[in-house]
Structure formats: structure tokens, C-alpha cells
């Protein structure tokens, strides 16, 4: 590296960066994809599942070669308290056939594959290199600096993830606030593939995605997750960082307690923990969105806060991929105009709206505020599980009709009818 100037330098070989690099290289443009990890993917973790639609648009039938784990055939939402759980389960056989709705996967392998696709398409992939800063020229971004190396480009893409120090340096975004992010901690637990299929009652290679709300975060905003891979289970918790800042609980202990819960323990029994990882998730949606473009720079993926957490759905991968694609489209046009100014790059925002990224972020813009409601994480899981438990309990006492049970449980859990109705109404509208 040295003298020659690239059309685009992309910082970060996560899904956003690698997608942009792949598409630009495919157009024959000179692109450099820089990753700090010892290999692409080696710094990345997530819960566990990617919705297929975005990558399917770019690489039809990607699953035939991509290192995916299991197609998710069953979705489970579980309310959990110290000694009870109540689950809603949905199984759909069409999810187990092409075009598979979503896949569980492991990032070390998947991200490495996607970066290799970009390289195959003609991008220069440089890993084991940390970008230390941006090169500026007459107020515009002109390249990047890594140690003593300087590399020039018409445009730089900040695809450096949630902590995006690059977007911050470029003045496109402020310091993260604790309430805008959540900390996720996860264990990968190895078990034989047949054991996983048997325990989760799926045939063949079917996968399960399960999200938990309640005692797994000790009532703090957040939740638990479990995804089945081929021969591992991804299990962990996500807790809002402001709540972690203010409470006494440690993420390590939350994970341990979660694993010991009677709902979880038998599922992972005999499994071997092979990795413990942690990562931040952007959670504030549009409210934390930075300036998406500047002179000679675009911001994509987590660096732009493109994650949707609705409690029953967590999406970041598909948004990262689609935003990488929108950035590639923007740069292709800027290249043909020979203009990489802020003005010229502004169509990025339009393309994000045209793709689903900003449309969906807009549609769910009130979800983060709704999900700050503490009742969702303690009172309601208590209410739901105790009501269900009462419904199934036969103990020789005076029978009480369902309505009576509901009234009784609302009272015991100190939840008002009106409050419940309001929360349900709001939830129904914003989620």
C-alpha cells in the first residue's frame, strides 16, 4: 500500500463493510477493505440469527455456499420469572424451505466468508490492521491512517460498528450515551447435533430462536436469547447499559443465573462452554442516528445505529447489509459524476429510504421509548406466568373462573386494568 489512490476505503469487514466492498468491487472499482481483527469476523459476535431477505437480494441462494448454521423453523417468546416460564411458540414449515426466512449463524466464520466474497470480487482485503484516524484535506475526508501508513481514497465508508470511533472523529456523531446502547454477553455451548435436535424437538437441521423477558435481566430493560446452531447453542443476555451502570448486577452472573434456570438447565446439560463473548448493541434507533454522510465519507450499519430491537425481533445484520448496498450504490454514482462531496453523497439517505432500512427504522421509531417501560421486564412477566400457572393448577381449593383469576392476579401483581390496557394499546401501535 502507499501511493495509489482507491475509489473507496472501507473501514471494518463486518456485514455492512464487506457488502459495500463486494458490490463496489463487482462494479470494477478500486476498493480497500480494512479490518483490525487477526481475520475478518474474529472481533464480531451477535445473538444468533440473520434474516435472509437482504443478502438474498444481493447474492441469490447465498445459503448454498455461506457458512450458515440452521434455518430457523421455530420462534419462541418466553416470559420468565425465578421459578416459572410461559412461552408462545410459532412453527412454520415454510421457513425450513428456500428461500429460508432466517438462519442462525456464527460470526467468526460467516463474516470471514463474506469478506472473502468481497476479495474474490476484486476488493483488496487488508486484515490485522487498525485504522487510527482519517486523513483530511481542505475539510474533506481524503483517506485513512493506520500507524505510519497513509492510504488515500475518493471516499471512506465508516463500517466500524457500534463504537464507531471513525464517525465520531469525522464529527458526524457524538459520544454514545449509556441509555443508547445495551451490553450483550453470550456463551457458545457445544453439544452433539442430534442432541440439539432432540432437545428442541425439531427434525433434521431445523433451528430454534428463543427470546426471553423477565428475571433473566433481574427486571432491567433487556432480555435473554437462545439460538440453536448445528453443534452449538448460543445463549446470553442483553441489558441496557444505563441499567447496568445504575444496578448491582454483573453480566457474568446474569449469564450464569440464566443458565441455571430450570427452563434452560436441561437444554444445555452436558454441554461444553467453548466461548464467552460480549458486544454492544445500538438500541436507540433513529434517535441515535448520526449524520449519515459528509464530504468524502459515508456511515453504514451499526456505526449509523441501524438496529431494530422490538423484543420479539432483533435485527441488525439485514440492516447492515442493505445499508452497505445503499452506500455502494451512492459511491457508484458519485464516481460516474466524479463528485464525492457531501452534496453528491446525499442521495445515500434517499437510497436508504428506498431500500427498507430507513423505512423500517422510521416505522419502529417509537419502540425504544416503549421498551423503557419497567413493567415489561418484571410486573408483566410475573403477571403472565402466575396467571398461566393458576390456570393449570388443581389443588382442591374453591374453583375461580378465568376472569376472577385475572382480576386476582392483577391485584397481586399491583397492575391496574387501565395501565395494562394503555400499555397493550401502545405496544400494539409501536411494535
Amino acid at each position: 500500500m502507499g501511493e495509489d489512490k482507491f475509489t473507496a476505503i472501507i473501514i471494518g469487514a463486518g456485514p455492512a463493510g464487506s457488502t459495500a466492498a463486494y458490490l463496489l468491487a463487482r462494479e470494477g472499482l478500486d476498493v480497500l477493505l480494512i479490518e483490525k481483527g487477526a481475520s475478518p469476523g474474529s472481533k464480531n459476535m451477535f445473538g444468533g440469527r440473520m434474516y435472509s431477505h437482504a443478502l438474498q437480494q444481493i447474492m441469490p441462494d447465498f445459503w448454498e455456499e455461506a457458512p450458515v448454521e440452521r434455518p430457523v423453523v421455530r420462534e419462541v417468546i418466553t416470559f420468565i420469572t425465578e421459578d416459572r416460564s410461559l412461552s408462545i411458540t410459532c412453527q412454520d414449515e415454510s421457513w425450513s424451505r428456500p428461500p429460508y426466512h432466517s438462519f442462525t449463524l456464527l460470526r467468526a466464520e460467516f463474516d470471514a466468508w463474506l469478506a472473502a466474497k468481497a476479495e474474490e470480487a476484486g476488493a483488496v482485503l487488508a486484515y490485522g490492521i487498525r485504522v487510527d484516524g482519517l486523513l483530511m484535506e481542505k475539510g474533506r475526508v481524503a483517506g485513512v491512517r493506520a500507524g505510519t501508513d497513509e492510504m488515500l481514497a475518493d471516499v471512506v465508508i465508516a463500517a466500524d460498528g457500534v463504537n464507531s470511533i471513525i464517525a465520531q472523529q469525522a464529527g458526524l456523531r457524538k459520544e454514545l450515551e449509556p441509555c443508547q446502547v445495551a451490553t450483550g454477553a453470550k456463551e457458545v455451548i457445544a453439544l452433539p447435533p442430534e442432541t440439539i435436535s432432540q432437545r428442541f424437538q425439531v427434525s433434521g437441521n431445523g433451528g430454534v430462536a428463543q427470546l426471553f423477558v423477565g428475571s433473566c435481566t433481574k427486571g432491567m430493560p433487556g432480555g435473554g436469547f437462545l439460538y440453536t446452531n448445528k453443534n452449538t447453542i448460543s445463549l446470553g443476555v442483553v441489558v441496557n447499559a444505563a441499567a447496568l451502570q445504575q444496578n448491582q448486577y454483573r453480566p457474568v452472573d446474569l449469564v450464569e443465573d440464566f443458565k441455571a434456570h430450570p427452563h434452560i438447565a436441561p437444554l444445555i446439560e452436558g454441554g461444553e462452554v467453548v466461548e464467552y463473548s460480549a458486544h454492544l448493541v445500538p438500541e436507540a434507533g433513529l434517535h441515535m442516528m448520526p449524520q449519515l454522510y459528509g464530504d468524502g465519507i459515508l456511515v453504514v450499519g451499526d456505526a449509523a445505529g441501524f438496529v431494530l430491537n422490538l423484543g420479539y425481533q432483533v435485527r441488525g445484520m439485514d440492516l447492515a447489509i442493505a445499508s452497505g448496498a445503499a452506500a455502494a450504490r451512492t459511491i457508484k454514482e458519485a464516481k460516474s459524476k466524479g463528485d464525492f462531496s457531501r452534496q453528491s453523497l446525499s442521495c445515500y439517505q434517499e437510497y436508504l429510504k428506498e431500500s427498507f432500512v430507513l423505512r423500517d427504522m422510521e416505522a419502529y421509531k417509537n419502540a425504544p421509548a416503549f421498551l423503557e417501560n419497567k413493567r415489561l421486564f418484571s410486573a408483566y412477566p410475573q403477571l403472565a406466568t402466575s396467571l398461566a400457572s393458576k390456570m393449570f393448577t388443581v389443588d382442591g381449593n374453591q374453583p375461580v373462573h378465568l376472569l376472577g383469576k385475572i382480576i386476582d392476579q392483577l391485584k397481586t401483581n399491583q397492575v391496574g386494568w387501565f395501565q395494562l390496557a394503555c400499555d397493550a394499546w401502545k405496544g400494539g401501535r409501536v411494535l
Binding site: 483490525k36 481483527g37 487477526a38 481475520s39 469476523g41 474474529s42 472481533k43 464480531n44 459476535m45 451477535f46 456464527l106 460470526r107 467468526a108 466464520e109 463474516d111 486484515y127 490485522g128 490492521i129 487498525r130 493506520a146 457500534v162 463504537n163 470511533i165 454514545l176 450515551e177 449509556p178 446502547v181 451490553t183 454477553a185 457458545v188 452449538t232 448460543s234 447499559a241 444505563a242 447496568l244 451502570q245 445504575q246 444496578n247 448491582q248 448486577y249 454483573r250 453480566p251 457474568v252 462452554v273 467453548v274 466461548e275 464467552y276 463473548s277 460480549a278 458486544h279 454492544l280
Partner: protein
């Protein structure tokens, strides 16, 4: 638990450096609880920190109430945590 993880520890350069005098002023010390790798501990009332087991999440950087107490960077290229699963 961290023993199972793979690291390429950078012996020459710490990627997270604390200003202990600012930590001394910090009452709540949330880093001692929020760090998922539990790398911030108290030794006789003072913060003690070891960057070697860092998972590079950024939680400490975000929740630290004392501006400037944590000088946080990612490790140099190729160093630090190496997720084999992720």
C-alpha cells in the same frame, strides 16, 4: 470462564489506560460491575484493571461517569480477543 477464550495479548501496548486519580474521585465505580469480563476490581479501595482479558465491547467506555478517566482504544491490529465462534 475467560480461560476458554483465545487472545493475542499485546504485551507492549495497553489499549485501555485509566487515570487512577480520576477513578479515586469516582464514587459509584460502575465499571466494577458492568464490565462483562469483570476486569475492573477493587484492591483496598483502589481500582485495579487488567486489559489482557478484554472482550472489546466498549461498555466501560460508555458507562464511566468521569470524563477522561478511561483512555479507550481498540487493541493494535491483529491483537486482542480472537472469537472463534462469535
Amino acid at each position: 470462564m475467560l480461560g476458554i477464550n483465545k487472545f493475542a495479548v499485546d504485551d507492549e501496548e495497553a489499549h485501555i489506560v485509566l487515570k487512577k486519580e480520576l477513578c479515586a474521585l469516582c464514587q459509584a465505580k460502575p465499571c466494577t460491575r458492568a464490565c462483562p469480563a469483570a476486569l475492573y476490581t477493587l484492591k483496598e479501595g483502589d481500582i485495579s484493571f487488567d486489559y489482557a482479558g478484554c472482550l472489546e465491547c466498549g461498555t466501560c467506555r460508555v458507562i464511566c461517569p468521569q470524563k477522561g478517566a478511561i483512555n479507550w482504544q481498540y487493541p493494535r491490529g491483529g491483537f486482542g480477543i480472537i472469537f472463534r465462534y462469535g
